[in-house]
Amino acid sequence: MAISNDRILLGTRKGVFDVRRRQGHWRVDAPQLPGQAIAYAVRDPRNGSIWASLDHGHWGCKLARSKDDGATYADVEPPKYPEDAGATAKYYWVIAPAPADRPGEVWIGTEPGGLFSTKDDGASWQLNDPLWKMCVEQKWQGGGRPGAGIHSIDFDPRDSNHAYLAISCAGVVETRDGGRSWAHRNAGMTSVFDPNSTMDFGHDPHCVVMAPSRPDVLWQANHCGVYRTTDGAASWKELTKKPLVDFGFPVGVHPTNPDVAWLVPMQSDMVRTPVNARLSVVRTDDGGETWTEHVEGLPSPAYDFPFRHGFAVGGDGDSLALGTTSGNLYTSDDGGRSWQCLSNSLPPIYSVRFA
């Protein structure tokens, strides 16, 4: 199943919102899992299942899934850290269905830094031991959340054994053998919050996305700037241009053109509101050499912003969606040049995914 342009799943503070466009009009209906905090919601393109990560707070994080296209959800036994791991799951931050040649396999990135996978469609989960060993031995620290957290998972469409994770704060790691071994891929990043600013690991990528049409190209919004790689993360090139190509959380990439990407600029890490209090989206068409700011249809003044999963690109590369910390939802039909507000009254939005 291809990613559509007419359906958006929102993970919000108060449920999963399934936002659909029919006859050209978007509609926001009542949420599923109402009143429950949903850290992330995603539709599995292989079978149409919808996975939702629940952040119950008091009762710990949990997992739910819909097998009837979002009509109903059922609990799924969630991943648990084994007793000898000495850890407890704080947040299921991202859920990534594996490529089509790995049926039944789903990966979940968690805080405090462990990666879990299922090969039986959620009946059982396994902690990735080699990665967890790295996390413990290298003492990965938290960034944004109290503990280290995996928030980005990118599978290579050419080879499902090949994948990248982005971890706050370890950096980017790569596996070429389906997760049996991992290597840091942070060359070129500079982290000013660490005296050893070009260290092997300990960086804080906010969001990393792979260009589906050229998987050796990945884009990165980092705590300390913006980066792009064209050699499969062997090296990262910094693209930072203050004030608009600098600090922010999400990054989006065009599905068929690896040189087209989007960012949502924020003032700075000390002032986490839009630049000059104007919500904007910046777009590049030349691989990050130049950027254009787009504000049509976006508010000013504005003091809310999207979290790292709060920006999504549809299958056509022109349909975009942006959901903010204050529950404002915007869409674009022209690749970000102009925007329409769908709602100003949703709960805080944690994830936005076209489905």
Partner: protein, 90 residues
Amino acid sequence: MATVHFTPHLMRFFPLPPSCTVEGASLLELVQGLESRWPGIAFYLLDEQRRLRENVAFWIDGVRYLERDPARGTVAPEATVHVMQALSGG
């Protein structure tokens, strides 16, 4: 047997009565008893390291149990135990 009273907030996830009797000499044993009747409930009350979740409050005979090791929470045969969402969780 102890009598366990549940917060309504927990009833949204499990078909719990407002209260029930459970065999157990410690909070851990009570939770294990609850798990046998409502599979999955233990993971709502304990984390993977079998510690009481930080923002779940247990009261034994009117006194809040402040430790996180449920095995150390002694429960008398006719005790009253309340399971509540702590305000600390928001």
